[in-house]
Structure formats: C-alpha cells, structure tokens
Symmetry: C2
Subunit: 227 residues, 2 copies
DNA sequence: CGTCGGCTTGAATTATCTCAATTTAAGTGG
DNA sequence: CCACTTAAATTGAGATAATTCAAGCCGACG
C-alpha cells in the first residue's frame, strides 16, 4: 500500500507548545502557582482525578498516558519545559500525568485560571488557542498511529522533537524519555523502536552520541508525507 | 502482549455529539444558517480552506479525513445527524470533510458563531464543551489506533456507533459508511475489516441483517478494556 | 440481462511482535 | 576508583497478526 522510503511529516510530540506562541496572560499565573518537584516515574495526577489544577513544566518532562485494564498503555503526549498540561474544561482529568525525569512543574489552581479567563479576554483567547493547538497535534498523532509504518513513526517523532527544540540539522537534540515511552507513544514495541533507531543510524539519517540524544544528519528521504 | 478475548471499551466514533448534551445556544444559529445538500463522496470543505463556516449534520453522514501525500488516508471522525463539525478557532480547516451519503447540513458563518460566543456566555461555554468533548474522543481514538488489535478496534467502533444511536442490545444500528471508510477510521485495510466482521458474526457477537446495519447480540467478552 | 462498484474470501507475504539472550549504561556501596 | 548489582537498551530467531495480491460474489442500476 505504501513505500517506506517516504517518511513522515513534521509533527510535535504533543502538549501545547509555549515556544511558538507564548501565552503571556496564562504565564502570569505562575506567580501565584506553586513549584512542585517529582522524581522519575512519579504520578502528578491520575486519570479520573478532579481536575483542580493546571500545570506548566519548568524542567524535566512529563508523559500523558491512558491505560487499558490489562496494563496496555498509550502515551497521548509529552509535556516539555514551557508547555502546559492538565488544562481542561472537564471536571476530571482524562489521562494520567507522570514525570519522565526528575521534573519541576508550576501548579496553578483551576479556579484562578477560570477567574483570569473570565476577566481577561486575552487570557481566554489563549486558553482557546492552546486547546486548539492540542487538537491539531492529536490529529497528526492519529494519522501517525493509523497510517504510518514503524520507520515513519519514529522519523516523525524525532523530527517533531527536534522542531520543538528549535534545533537545526546537525544540532544535538535531547531524548528525555526512555525507549518504552517512545514505543507507547508510537504504538510499537520497545524492540521495534530499537531496531528502527538502529536502522536510521546505519542509514546515516541520524547519529546518536548516546542513548539519550540524537542528531538529524540527513533529512532527505524524510520528505513531508502530509497532504 | 495482550489477549484478544478482552475487547475494547465504549467509544463514540467522533464529532461532537449533540445528543447527550444539547447545545441549545449554538443550535439557535441554525435559524440563520443555510441548508446545503451533498451527494455521496462530495467534498464539503478541504484541509487548508479558510475556516469560514461551521456545520451541523441534519441527515446523512460526513467523514473527516486527513490525507498523506501518497494518498493514504486517516479518517479522524464521522459526523452524524445532530453533530457539529468544522468548529475551530484556527484560521483554516485542519482536515477535509466529505459526505459519506446523500447528506444535508446546516452551514453557519463563523463570524456569527463568534459574535454569539462573544455575547452569550452560555454559547461560549457550549463552544468550549464541544471542543473538550472532541478532545476526549480523539484521545480514545489514539488508544484504539495505538494499542488495540483489529478485532478490538472493530468491536469498539461498532459499540461506539450503537451508543451514539442510543441503541440497546438487540436494536438494529445503521452503518452509514462503507467498509473502506471503516478501515481508514480504524487504521486497517478493507480486507481486515471484512474478515473481522465475518468473525464477529460467526462468533455470534453481532448479527447483520445486511451490509449496512448490524445488531449487537452478545456484549459479554467485549468487556470494557479501559482503565 | 449485463456491467460495475463495493464486499467477501483465499493464499501467500511481510511488518511487527514475542520470547530469549546479550550488551551497555547507571548506580551503589565498599 | 573499582567491583557488584540492577535496570535499560540492543540484538537475534521464530511466531503471528495484518497486509498484499488475486479471484469470486452480490446487489444496484441502466
């Protein structure tokens, strides 16, 4: 049905970016928020918890996941420094948030956010735009999971990570999450992620100084596949 | 990694439902909207078009899809009677909307919507809730695409359709879309959809009076797999 | 009645997974 | 700083779910 030479389009991993469009109004909330630190693997909030806070990552990384009853896990996004998560109009969180790394976040109470949104039209607009940006990312993620090969998925993921850091070709990009996290984000097994990583390295498409970083060496052949 | 006996959790196909939570304020817009009719397969709007209208399905069904450059397609949702689509704060549509069937929609201008949202807090809230509901559905779709087997995907899809119609076990549910559409929604091939359909029939899990409808006969074994 | 598009089934292929073993990296405590 | 322990990552070999390619079926419709 499709060749594997054509590799995916640029996409961000997920979680609303604050790099491209800085949410000045919402960012102001951090002054009233509290800093929290989480050790690797710790749960920040669980699916079903009352959504009483909104978070922004200061350093580290957070994975946003949904679990099936039998333990299968799908990571629906990662939140990296500067990005928000847990922002929802729903009464409870629809996913679990866990620290990938040693992570520091700012937590702001939801009532404060809603108060601000009610008072400041600009803040309200930002709120909206963040949700909208999230929806666009989720849609790209759907395309990736439904219609891309393992190789394309990994390439798309790496390109998305590089883009988020504003990295140019040749720049070193950090890979804060482990292989299992990548697998659960891409809908693959950890072994397949390893194998495709090895392939991309051998093909000279990427280089990897160590397990937790990479460099994009050759974007040719990774041509944008999106419409 | 997982058994196939445990089949997925309930999920709606996608597109914001107006059945459970009727958006009274937004629905009022229909009085000022125009009715449009589309023949099967016709494009209502394309990805990238300026998002100048918001639509609501009156009858028929609409598929919301994203295309890759090589023609691969991922359907990110279906809009059925009563449901909205094309509702976005972004300047352009992020997906293409095509009529599945002979379909009638109401089209309302975006400026009207935004005017209403600016004036009526209730309408604004509805707007928000519709986006939020859409995000929840997309998240379930991500789990389905990333972590469920073909059999589970199809079962989840059928249960979602039945739920949307408010059908009880034993009620006949319409299948407005073709097999290829189902395949592109589930991230499968048309052949796999057919085979799994056949399996579910033979297993007595469902019955199918004809190709375009089905009946859920046995929900046991389709135990909710979600966390 | 014949054609045509969509659906279904079959047989063979393959991308990805599973299970198992090995290597590498990261601690930890002496 | 080094031995020891442990977890994570990688690689291999075999199994399998899903795909591809191909053929047949069936209902819709002129």
């Amino acid at each position: 049905m499709h060749t594997h030479s054509a590799i995916a389009a640029h996409e961000s991993g997920s979680a609303v970016s604050a790099t491209a469009m800085r949410p000045r109004e919402l960012a102001a909330l951090e002054k009233y928020g509290s800093r929290l630190r989480f050790a690797p693997g710790k749960t920040i909030f669980a699916e079903g918890d009352r959504a009483s806070s909104v978070y922004r990552v200061l350093c580290g990384a957070v994975r946003l996941c949904k679990y099936l009853a039998d333990g299968r896990r799908q990571i629906i996004g990662f939140a990296q420094p500067g990005e928000f998560f847990g922002l929802t109009p729903a009464p409870s969180y629809s996913f679990t948030a866990e620290a990938v790394n040693d992570t520091v976040v700012v937590s702001s109470s939801r009532s404060q956010i809603e108060g601000l949104a009610g008072v400041s039209p600009a803040a309200h607009r930002e709120f909206f735009d963040l949700m909208s940006a999230q929806m666009l990312k989720d849609q790209l993620h759907l395309v990736m999971l439904g219609r891309q090969s393992a190789r394309e998925k990994l390439a798309t993921f790496l390109i998305g990570l590089a883009d988020r850091c504003g990295a140019e070709d040749g720049d070193i990009v950090e890979l804060p999450m482990g292989r299992q996290d990548i697998a659960d984000y891409l809908g693959l097994t950890i072994e397949t992620v390893c194998r495709e990583m090895t392939y991309l390295k051998r093909a000279g498409t990427i280089a990897a100084p160590d397990q937790h970083s990479f460099v994009i060496r050759d974007v040719r052949g990774l041509g944008a596949a999106l419409h």
